[in-house]
């Protein structure tokens, strides 16, 4: 019954996704300097999303310089030789727009969402700061304090974030994913404005970036404007990127984080393959579906079994992201319910994986995951930013947007047998050797003992 129900959606959505493709939307052009321009026309509202993505993220940093990709992202708002500090923000605000930027392990991206008439202005400003950023020691010193506050807010005072930081730092010994995007506090304390400048000179090149515009625009006009702005920037040779592959893990790793909290928390991560070949890979799609069966919806297994039926978890989740430049982890996490321990929850989470390895998944569950994938694609059409993020993340992770529909098609082709096979292979006997477990050991709030994690007062 469920399978039949899901079919009309799948068919309709294939039509919806396929329709724009017939009109070659999105459109792509490569500028003479190597910068790619991707335009997706969406004429529902007189808005344009303008994004520039650099293929430089925290994974490209070196030890001692953690956080520099993100600090430079902050510095990009401090002005250029032509445009005063804060002026870019002011102009975006004046046209009624919204702007910001984000840094991840894999990339750094800048965006403005503006009424479409303001798009050429945004392109001129963004191209200007790609080439002409003005970095001063004073601006740097002040902004570095802001970034340290950001670290305190996001990580130091957030027990679960501390657990994730510890999990990554433990799971990886060699691969740069072991360093947090925001940077270690000690590295921030010793960062200089020249470090940020060097990062900018090394990676902020048109041949290391792509432009993405989604909105009520004509693609030929965007291409012309891109040639006039970004097209004038000279490309430079990029540094060599070493693979830094993680050696095979040969035994379970455990780490504990103590922080003020009430409930314990556990996060478990297994090393699993990432997506490398959209056409020929199978396991990454099966892992994605497995994560969906466990935690893809309200009806998924972890909530149903651990939270609602057995009541041993306050919350429980699963996640897998195979679309990355680096390496992939398959993660289970959760908080034990009152009266239960993290050890019990760890066993219960593992038991859910074992159940799938032993018994497989039902046709209903499989269909449900695929229905979610399909529905999410339709709902994404309601948001230009969501469409831009979909293309941008895929591209920045080293894939081509033309393969995105193929990825969806491949996800829909996963069989129950394939899901069971990856569950057996990656979470069956011996899989503990590739497992890292991080646990939050909650501490009472001792109000007389302010914590000083960094131990050093900021001197910059």
């Amino acid at each position: 019954m469920n399978i039949k129900k899901a079919w009309p959606i799948a068919v309709a959505v294939v039509a919806l996704i396929a329709a724009p493709a017939a009109h070659a939307n999105p459109f792509e052009k490569r500028l003479a300097n190597g910068m790619r321009v991707i335009v997706k026309e969406d004429h529902r509202a007189p808005t344009a999303v303008h994004m520039v993505w650099y293929r430089a993220g925290a994974m490209d940093e070196k030890d001692g310089y953690s956080g520099v990709a993100h600090v430079l992202e902050h510095m990009m708002f401090k002005g250029t030789q032509k445009v005063k500090g804060g002026e870019f923000n002011r102009i975006v605000a004046e046209v009624g727009g919204r702007d910001n930027a984000f840094t991840s392990l894999d990339y750094t991206a800048y965006f403005q969402i503006v009424p479409k008439a303001a798009l050429p202005k945004m392109m001129a400003l963004e191209a200007d700061r790609m080439a002409n950023l003005r970095l001063t020691p004073n601006d740097f010193a002040s902004e570095l304090k802001v970034v340290m506050e950001e670290r305190r807010q996001r990580t130091e005072d957030n027990p679960q974030a501390l657990v994730w930081e510890a999990l990554n730092a433990t799971a990886y010994r060699a691969h740069p994913y072991r360093r947090p995007v925001i940077g270690w506090m000690d590295d921030l304390e010793h960062m200089t404005w020249q470090d940020a400048r060097d990062w900018y000179r090394r990676w902020y090149e048109p041949n290391n970036a792509f432009l993405l515009v989604v909105g009520d625009v004509e693609h030929e006009e965007v291409f012309r404007e891109a040639a006039r702005t970004y097209g004038r920037i000279k490309p430079h040779a990029l540094p060599v990127r070493k693979p830094q592959n993680e050696p095979v893990q040969i035994g379970i790793k455990r780490v504990t984080v103590k922080a003020p909290a009430r409930l314990p928390y556990i996060a478990m991560a297994w090393k699993v393959p990432r997506l490398t070949d959209v056409e020929h890979d199978r396991e990454p799609y099966a892992l994605e579906v497995l994560a969906g069966v466990l935690d893809g919806s309200d009806a998924a297994r972890l909530s149903k079994s651990l939270v609602r039926t057995q009541k041993i978890a306050q919350s429980a989740g699963a996640g897998y992201d195979g679309v990355v430049r680096g390496e992939s982890l398959f993660v289970l996490d959760g908080q034990p319910a009152e009266g239960h321990t993290v050890a019990e929850l760890e066993a219960a989470l593992k038991a859910e994986l074992k159940r799938i390895a032993d018994e497989g998944v039902t046709a209903d569950e499989l269909e449900r995951v695929k229905t979610q994938v399909v529905a999410a694609e339709v709902y994404k059409r309601d948001s230009m930013m969501a469409q831009a993020m979909e293309i941008g993340r895929f591209e920045a992770s080293g894939f081509n947007w033309r393969d995105y529909d193929k990825l969806l098609e491949k996800l829909r082709s996963v069989t129950a047998g394939e899901v069971q096979a990856v569950a057996k292979k990656y979470f069956g006997d011996g899989s503990d050797d590739r497992l890292t477990v991080a646990v939050l050991d909650p501490q009472p709030l001792d109000e007389s003992q302010p914590k000083e994690k960094s131990g050093v007062a900021v001197r910059h």
């Binding site: 959606i9 309709a12 802001v146 506050e149 950001e150 409930l263 609602r308 306050q314 914590k451």
Partner: protein
């Protein structure tokens, strides 16, 4: 100059094409209905709200409104929670029940193909009209709710938010947060009674946007509300009394102080609202370009996040400044924020700031309504609080009409220093 001209042209062109057509009628059930027809995408969004937010929690049972809204989908008619969630998931629909301060209700997003749409709406109808609140589910969710409260009570941001609400709303439901004790006292009968009394057709507000016709929307609104309980006449909330200025310090071991400054300030539909909105843009609402961000973050590096906002409610909703800063510099950061506020109240925006605020708010309106999801937010707010149907069309003119003097006078009326409360969690 070229920029200014461009902005004006954009404002004009927007006004010409804004034309968000909101249709409104009263269903035979008595429910008020608000509808935007939009056939661009095969999506339907529906929100059904009631005056059933936490402000209506009975004395000693704070948390009841939230539990009631949250448990609607955990059993209804003959269906248990597993049947409901799997049916929703099978058709790709998303349904969420939640309670705010004034209103509570359910939002539904579904594909608009007839089969999926009809199945999703049938579930929504059942959930709204015939929730069963199974005893075992109530017990489990009470336990989870208590655990979440206890966890939140360890977090500096949550502690600051609760203390701030309690301090600016003494002796008022807006100031009361759920506690372990208040949730313990709630029984299944309370949920049943709260639903019976507050989820009534005459007070229901149905908001619909998406790929259906007016005729279909009429039928949907009626079918969703026809079987709702008759309810109780809405009991008026007590009046909000302004607090006396004070500073409250809460010890906590966090690395950062969490600081909140504010007071109860403005009701939905207040004639001063646009002056406050425009003024607050300059003070702390305008992101990177606001005075608070410039002084606290850009000039001194005291904070990553600093902001101010007015959150109008049925009765006087809060005005709040918020910031987080390293604990040993809390005093210095607070002084900067206080000074920025005091000076703004005294002098108001400069002519240039006023113009910049208007440009952003007017030119940016198009971005705030460029998706069905965003429009639904406006639609349900207009409906629930009885704002004019022309609210979005009038928005540019209302903003444009605000003068610097009106901003000063509105702030003088609504943000009086003798009523400003400051809460500092984890300050040295």
């Amino acid at each position: 100059m070229r920029l200014l001209l461009a902005a004006l042209v954009m404002a004009l062109s927007f006004a010409a094409q804004a034309g968000v057509k909101i249709e409104h009628w009263v269903a035979p059930s008595g429910a008020r209905v608000y509808f935007i027809e939009s056939h661009d995408l095969p999506i339907l969004d529906v929100e059904v709200d009631f005056p059933a937010g936490s402000a209506y929690d009975p004395a000693g049972k704070a948390g009841l409104a939230g539990l009631t809204a949250g448990l609607l989908e955990d059993g209804a008619g003959d269906l248990d929670e597993e049947a409901i969630s799997s049916r929703l998931v099978d058709i790709g629909a998303m349904l969420n029940g939640q309670a705010g301060d004034d209103r509570a209700g359910v939002t539904l997003r579904t594909l608009a193909y007839p089969k999926e749409r009809d199945a999703a709406l049938a579930l929504l109808q059942l959930i709204l009209g015939k929730p069963t609140f199974p005893e075992a589910v109530v017990a489990r969710e009470k336990t989870r709710s208590i655990a979440a409260i206890q966890e939140a009570d360890t977090r500096p941001d949550a502690i600051a938010a609760k203390r701030f609400a309690a301090a600016i709303y003494p002796d008022h439901p807006y100031g009361i947060s759920a506690t372990t004790d208040s949730v313990e006292r709630i029984g299944r009968d309370d949920l049943v009674a709260f639903h019976r009394d507050h989820y009534a057709a005459p007070t229901a507000v149905v908001s619909i946007i998406g790929d259906v016709t007016r005729g279909e929307a009429e039928a949907i609104a009626q079918s969703l509300t026809a079987a709702l309980p008759a309810g109780q006449p809405e009991a008026p909330l007590p009046e909000v009394k302004l607090p006396k200025a004070e500073t409250i310090k809460v010890a906590h071991p966090a690395a950062q102080s969490h600081i909140a400054i504010g007071l109860p300030a403005v009701r939905r539909g207040d004639p001063d609202y646009f002056a406050l909105l425009v003024g607050n843009y300059t003070l702390g609402g305008g992101g990177f370009v606001s005075r608070l961000t410039k002084e606290v973050r850009e000039k001194r590096g005291f904070a990553y996040s600093v902001y101010s906002y007015f959150a109008p409610r049925k009765l006087e909703g809060p005005f709040q400044i918020g910031l987080q800063t390293r604990r040993d510099q809390a005093g210095a950061a607070l002084k900067v924020a206080d000074d920025v506020l005091a000076r703004f109240i005294k002098e108001g925006p400069t002519a240039a700031e006023l113009a910049a605020a208007k440009q952003n708010l007017i030119n940016g309106l198009g971005l705030r309504i460029d998706s069905n999801a965003k429009l639904l937010g406006y639609l349900s707010t207009i409906g629930f609080f009885g704002l004019p149907l022309t609210y979005l069309d009038d928005f540019p003119a209302r903003v444009e009409a605000v003068t610097a003097r009106q901003v000063r006078e509105a702030f003088a009326r609504h943000v009086k220093s003798e009523n400003l409360v400051t809460v500092i969690v984890a300050g040295d």
